[in-house]
């Protein structure tokens, strides 16, 4: 990115993030398939690694959503990448994520009346729904905003 002005760097980073958010959300959701395909009461090391990896990814994505990312960029760039409209979009994404998590929790409550859902499975579904929906909404708003005026 050498030779680019700050505005150009910020534009590039913003576009990259807008493209990456929905893609990451899809990868994140696809990971769930392997979790729910695991045999019940699975105690193999590989399964613990899978769950650990999912948790780490969840924490990283949550941290990205909460702070706006660009952690290793200079302060000036980090502030511009998270300027006023971006913060508003992120906030809107987090609101969508909150409602998705609530909807998932209510759905699980109903399902649990007919079929036992373990605490770990419930947390998995609620966390995944909240994070993925927030990321997709944030990404969609950013993509729309980045279209040339």
């Amino acid at each position: 990115m050498n030779g680019l002005t700050i505005s150009e760097k910020v534009e590039m980073l913003s576009r990259r993030r807008a493209r990456a958010l929905p893609t990451l959300a899809v990868i994140f959701l696809a990971q769930q398939a392997s979790y729910f395909n695991m045999p019940e009461q699975s105690d193999r090391t590989v399964d613990h690694v899978k769950i650990g990896a999912w948790l780490l990814l969840s924490v990283a994505l949550l941290a990205g959503l909460g702070t706006g990312g660009a952690w290793f960029r200079p302060r000036e760039i980090r502030e511009l990448v998270n300027d006023e409209s971006t913060r508003a979009h992120r906030q809107a994404g987090l609101v969508y994520g909150f409602w998705a998590a609530m909807a998932a929790a209510i759905t699980l409550y109903v399902v649990n009346m007919f079929e036992l859902v373990s605490g770990r499975d419930a947390i998995h579904v609620i966390l995944s729904a909240g994070i993925a929906v927030a990321m997709i909404r944030f990404g969609m708003l950013e993509r729309r905003a980045l279209k040339d005026g």
């Binding site: 534009e11 913003s14 300027d83 006023e84 409209s85 508003a88 905003a145 980045l146 005026g149």
Partner: protein, 68 residues
């Protein structure tokens, strides 16, 4: 009835021969933010509205108004 914050940002920016990037640099935001404000997608904060008006040599009321 729904209210909308209308603006003459694009018109004034063109009058002064500024690009979205140049205006964004003057007020310390990204081109994306200027673009969304111009298109009425994003309602700017009071701080940004004042900065935009100052950068374009207008008052906030001359730059923004409520459309019903």
């Amino acid at each position: 009835m729904a209210e909308r914050l209308a603006n003459r940002l694009k018109e004034r920016r063109s009058e002064l021969g500024l690009t979205q990037v140049e205006l964004a640099e003057r007020v310390g935001v990204t081109r994306k933010t200027v673009n969304t404000v111009e298109n009425g997608i994003f309602t700017p904060s009071t701080t940004l509205a004042i900065k935009l008006a100052a950068a374009l040599g207008l008052t906030v009321e001359q730059l923004f108004w409520i459309e019903r």
